[in-house]
């Protein structure tokens, strides 16, 4: 055999287009904000709509983030994901009703504490439900997409009916904790306090998830598992445990999102999760399967666009999200930041 020549590779200088390519989806959010600013005559209206859009986007992100990971890591199409939103909302609201003395107190600390306890209870309940859902409904149909759609849809119907049995068929109207009602005025714009809290919670959760996925070994295993689960197992990691962990975490996040969404809408129904599924699917698809970052950007785009369009041309709001999905998929057929190639 001949001796190898000296192999000294160097980094090629990337063109501007190459450098900016991965960040283009991220730039869509400020771009859509600037477009909104140009289209909405009043600065205060724009600010109000922007905060509202960001809050809506953050809540959609919280609800959808678990689903994109489950989709990417486990190749499971879980049409039952919405049920965790509904159950989370009902459990959370029930806790808030029990903690009425805290929610009605004119104290921001007590109000936030009550919401935090409701969120924790919802996350625990939906995490547990997620564990059972995976074991009973999803596990037997790994690798069979059509069966997954059918049985997870069936699971959703069953759990929705259980909610009706436990909490009754009527929608439940709720009041947000006292300190989170009303709005603050900033630069002439009325900004609802609760929406600001939702933005903050969404941002913290996104940064937390990003940290876990990017800077911890479990995050590495999840990211690698999304790409090539078989190889992760060949390295010695029990991917099945990671699957279950991600499913439980994704369900708990959906439950948390359900509480947030319920308080945002100030009404909860057994079908609220099912109704959110269309938006969640749009966000997961345009974000790119398995991508938390893509899901985050997609959710913000959906939230902002829906609010801007509803203000500018209310009738067009009905198709704005579908139009966004068509446009994104024409630009990037695998979604904005694809992690998993279409299987």
């Amino acid at each position: 055999m001949s001796a190898a020549p000296k192999h000294a590779p160097t980094m090629a200088k990337m063109s501007f287009a190459d450098k900016i390519g991965p960040w283009l989806p991220m730039l869509l959010v400020p771009a859509i904000m600037v477009l909104g600013l140009a289209s909405i005559p009043s600065m205060s209206s724009w600010l109000t709509l922007t905060v509202s859009g960001l809050a809506m986007g953050m809540m959609i992100f919280i609800m959808a983030s678990g689903m994109t990971l489950v989709f990417g890591l486990m190749d499971v199409i879980n049409f039952g994901h919405g049920v965790f939103i509904s159950v989370g909302a009902f459990v959370g609201v029930s806790v808030l009703m029990v903690l009425a003395s805290m929610t009605e107190a004119p104290s921001l600390v007590l109000n936030l504490l009550a919401v935090l306890l409701a969120i924790i209870a919802a996350a625990i309940a939906t995490g547990g439900l997620g564990w059972a859902f995976e074991k009973v409904i999803v596990k037997p149909v790994y690798g069979a997409h059509l069966k997954q759609i059918l049985v997870t849809m069936g699971g959703l119907i069953v759990v929705e009916q259980l909610i009706v049995v436990l909490w009754g068929p009527e929608e439940i109207y709720i009041l947000r904790p006292q300190a989170l009602q009303g709005a603050i005025t900033f630069a002439g714009a009325a900004l609802e306090k609760y929406r600001l809290v939702a933005v903050a919670v969404g941002l913290v959760l996104f940064l937390g998830m990003r940290y876990v996925l990017r800077s911890t070994k479990i995050g590495l295993i999840v990211r690698a598992g999304v790409e090539n689960g078989e190889m992760v197992e060949a390295l010695g990691y029990r991917l099945r445990l990671v699957f279950v962990g991600v499913f439980v975490a994704g369900s708990a996040l959906a439950g948390l999102g359900g509480v947030m969404w319920g308080l945002y809408q100030e009404v909860i129904t057994a079908h609220m999760g099912q109704q959110m599924m269309i938006l969640i699917f749009i966000v997961v698809i345009i974000g790119g399967l398995g991508s938390v970052e893509g899901c985050f950007i997609g959710a913000l785009l959906v939230g902002l666009l829906q609010n801007y369009i509803a203000f500018i041309e209310p009738k067009a709001a009905l198709i704005s999200n579908i139009a966004l999905m068509v446009a994104i998929l024409m630009w990037r057929p695998q979604g904005m930041i694809p992690v998993v190639k279409a299987k």
């Binding site: 055999m1 001949s2 001796a3 190898a4 020549p5 192999h7 000294a8 590779p9 160097t10 980094m11 070994k217 590495l220 295993i221 990211r223 690698a224 999304v226 790409e227 090539n228 078989e230 190889m231 992760v232 197992e233 060949a234 390295l235 010695g236 990691y237 029990r238 991917l239 992690v339």
Partner: protein, 241 residues
Amino acid sequence: MSDPILKLEGVYTDIAQYHILQGVDLEVPRGGVTMLLGRNGVGKTTTLRTVMGHWRAKTGKVLLDGQDITTLPTPQIARAGVGFVPENMGIFSDLTVEENMILAAVSGPIDPARLEWVFSAFPPLKTFWKGHAGNLSGGQKQMLSIARAMVEERRLYLIDEPTKGLAPAIISTMARALRELKEQGASILLVEQNFSVAKALGDSCVVMDDGRVVWSGEMAELATDAGLQERLMGLSMEAHQ
């Protein structure tokens, strides 16, 4: 011969309706490189994947150091000390070279001395340490794939066609790295189509045909007997280059 590190006894493996392995009996001696040779489609890759538990043996036994691992889940087989380099390399493109290596070090942080050794075997990995593995060239991806197996000491290395489709210069780098690994006393089962590499590295050799082992012996014996090569593999392997 001392106890083999790996032993397959009458292993049959099916993939869907196809009977791929049809009674494989194979021994990999402790220490040194055992070449697994044979034409395309005779079951070499399936043999490695059956040992790893990716595909299950329908009947027969897979023994690692005397322990029956036939039905163990893949992660347990890996943690028992089997390093696997698949034919498709199996690198994680979305992760950096560093993250790929961190993931491969299952028992804890990477030993710095061992990492330096890996870098000396595959210098490009040091250059692109923080770069995405998906941006590496084919040869560099193969280096990463082998480096992941080398980053920790394993009882047995299963390596599937590491030189496939690579330029001669890179093949030479691969062969040097594998020789270093062998000199450290590692046991390697290597599937290889490049006869120069097989001849240079192999101590013992197993030839498969039609899902069975049809010959096993010393690599030197096969390398010097063109008639045997012709009989076992249909043509002289020198002519195959």
